[in-house]
């Protein structure tokens, strides 16, 4: 078993091992608590077969919701996206498509949709402005007091909007994020991310809701109370991850941000290593940007309930550097005789290894139990998943190592613009 010991190497060695291990258990316990407190179907539904979906409860009123879809070169997917949105069972909504300076056929497709459907509206930005500006512009151009923002390549489940709107009955709620499910499962990377979204993202979001604060809404699908957005000045145009930033701004102003696992949204995940790396590097750099922005004395007291979330993020950054040092020393040890205090003789061996292997198994098993109701096709992808928590931590390590200097060196006023993400293999 690793011990913290007295030398820095012993400390980093122990920290590298214990931090992800115990965080995994914290997520599992938090997620199980969340399930029994908030998510478990009502008694009347429990006796029905598992493939019978639970329906959202009726609301006392159905205020207008504007679904905002920012688009930048989305000609391939936007019609499917709108088709799913039009099938929403929420009775009072319109769709606002924002063409953010696309260079492909997006403009013509959006105009065609606006002529076809009375509840589809279109904004054309004269030049590409970035997602944050597109969202803010659209928010001002609607009288709706509730906004649902989804990515142009995501398919919103017809019941999702109703599930998210239930939360706004509570006046404290400023935002609700849905449950992204990966659509493309053709390659190993696609299948791994199916599991990742449930065994890592789903568990963390549930555990964070148990605590009471979440690190971020999913940018791909989130609903907002407009009064809350107005209170925090809408989206920041200079943040790489506008979703993390707005989540923090809302919670610092004491708005509640919720997660609704029943609000499913089908998303396209990268299926090449390059695409996955670019996506995760952007998330990681954006997360560090937000951490640096909020690490300010004037925020400290009003953000006190965010401290554990901030601390957890800071610890994960420290972990990335810590495990890198240990791995490098371990590898050097094969070629050079290092002094004893720098020598790493064992890397996750003995009973520590069994503990890590068992934890992966437990984590995947619990997430399978929690999520199988929503995504019954996910079961077969779990064969690929047992070791995935290990791969997740490795990816997280590499992206964090690169992201920290990128975030530190980035011009704080520089506008975050769109990049074209990898959307996997298309049939």
């Amino acid at each position: 078993m690793s011990d913290f010991g007295t030398s820095p190497v012993e400390f980093f060695s122990a920290y590298s091992y214990y931090y992800p291990l115990f965080m995994a258990y914290l997520w599992m316990i938090g997620a199980v608590f969340y399930y029994f407190r908030y998510e478990r179907p009502p008694k009347s539904h429990r006796d029905l077969p598992r493939d019978v979906p639970e329906t959202p409860p009726p609301l006392p009123e159905y205020p207008l919701v504007t679904i905002i879809v920012p688009c930048h070169n989305e000609g391939r997917d936007i019609e499917d996206t709108v088709e799913y949105l039009l099938a929403s069972t929420y009775p009072n909504f319109d769709i606002l498509l924002v063409n953010d300076g696309s260079g492909d056929e997006t403009r013509d497709i959006l105009d065609k949709l606006a002529t076809q459907f009375a509840n589809v509206r279109v904004i054309h930005a004269a030049r590409n402005q970035g997602k944050a500006v597109a969202l803010t512009t659209a928010s001002l151009m609607t009288s709706a007091q509730y906004l649902c923002c989804i990515d142009a390549d995501a398919l919103l489940d017809p019941e999702a909007l109703s599930w998210m709107m239930v939360h706004f009955l509570n006046p404290r709620v400023g935002a609700v994020t849905g449950n992204p499910r990966v659509r493309n499962r053709s390659t190993l990377l696609g299948r791994l991310q199916v599991g990742e979204y449930s065994s890592i993202v789903g568990l963390i979001k549930r555990a964070q809701r148990t605590y009471g604060r979440i690190f971020t809404v999913s940018g791909v699908v989130a609903c907002f109370r407009k009064a809350a957005l107005h209170d925090v000045g809408y989206w920041s145009s200079d943040m790489l991850t506008e979703d993390i930033d707005v989540s923090w701004n809302l919670q610092i102003r004491h708005w509640d941000v919720r997660f609704e696992p029943k609000a499913q949204c089908w998303i396209l995940a990268p299926e090449t290593l390059k695409g996955l790396w670019q996506q995760r590097l952007r998330w990681s750099t954006g997360g560090i940007q937000v951490m640096m922005k909020n690490w300010r004395i004037e925020h400290l007291w009003s953000a006190r309930r965010m401290w554990p979330v901030l601390l957890e993020y800071a610890m994960s950054v420290l972990w990335a550097y810590s495990i890198t040092v240990i791995a490098v020393l371990w590898l050097i040890g094969f070629f050079i005789e290092l002094p004893p205090e720098y020598r790493i003789t064992r890397f996750l061996s003995g009973w520590n290894g069994v503990m890590v292997g068992t934890t992966c198994l437990l984590q995947v098993g619990i997430s399978l139990a929690l999520d199988s109701r929503y995504d019954q096709g996910s079961l077969k992808t779990f064969y690929w998943m047992i070791w995935y928590p290990l791969a997740y931590w490795m990816l997280s390590m590499f992206t964090t190592i690169v992201a920290v200097p990128r975030a530190l060196l980035r011009d704080t006023k520089k506008r975050a613009r769109w990049n074209s993400p990898d959307r996997g293999i298309a049939p």
């Binding site: 078993m1 099938a87 970035g130 407009k226 069994v354």
Partner: protein, 164 residues
Amino acid sequence: MEQSGPRHSTLKSPLIERSDLQSPQQRTLYGALTLAFWAFWFYLWLPLLALLAWSLGLQQAFKYMVVLGGYHEVIRVIGLYSLIILLLGGALVVWAVYNIMRFRDDERRTGGLPVTPAMIGLDFGQDPLAVERWQGEQRLRVSHDQGGKISHVEVLSDDVHVDV
């Protein structure tokens, strides 16, 4: 014009499962990655596998695990880990229950006032009457300045030429 409405049954399945479309390089790379991670995962289980192997000759297992005290380390690790997990998880659950009890039936916050065109006009330097008009239009063209602020809004006519 069509109207929106539930068209559940007409929606195509969102899932894309076409492994046949992978390139040979992708197939090879991902196959190798899968193999490597499975091997590493089994490496983690070596002590348990060794224990199982020993168990096949029960005398040896008894000697190593009981007579020579091999079980001490197993019990120590499991006990210590369980204690830490219990403390961490317990703290989270106690905190969650405390908050549920504390804020039950004690909502002091309101949902905020509706955001009106006048409020938007004030914050974004726009004419409230113009904002109200834009909110009712179906097609707009918006220009922004260098800082991303709205500089000009043009209402597009309904007479659209669509060439798709």
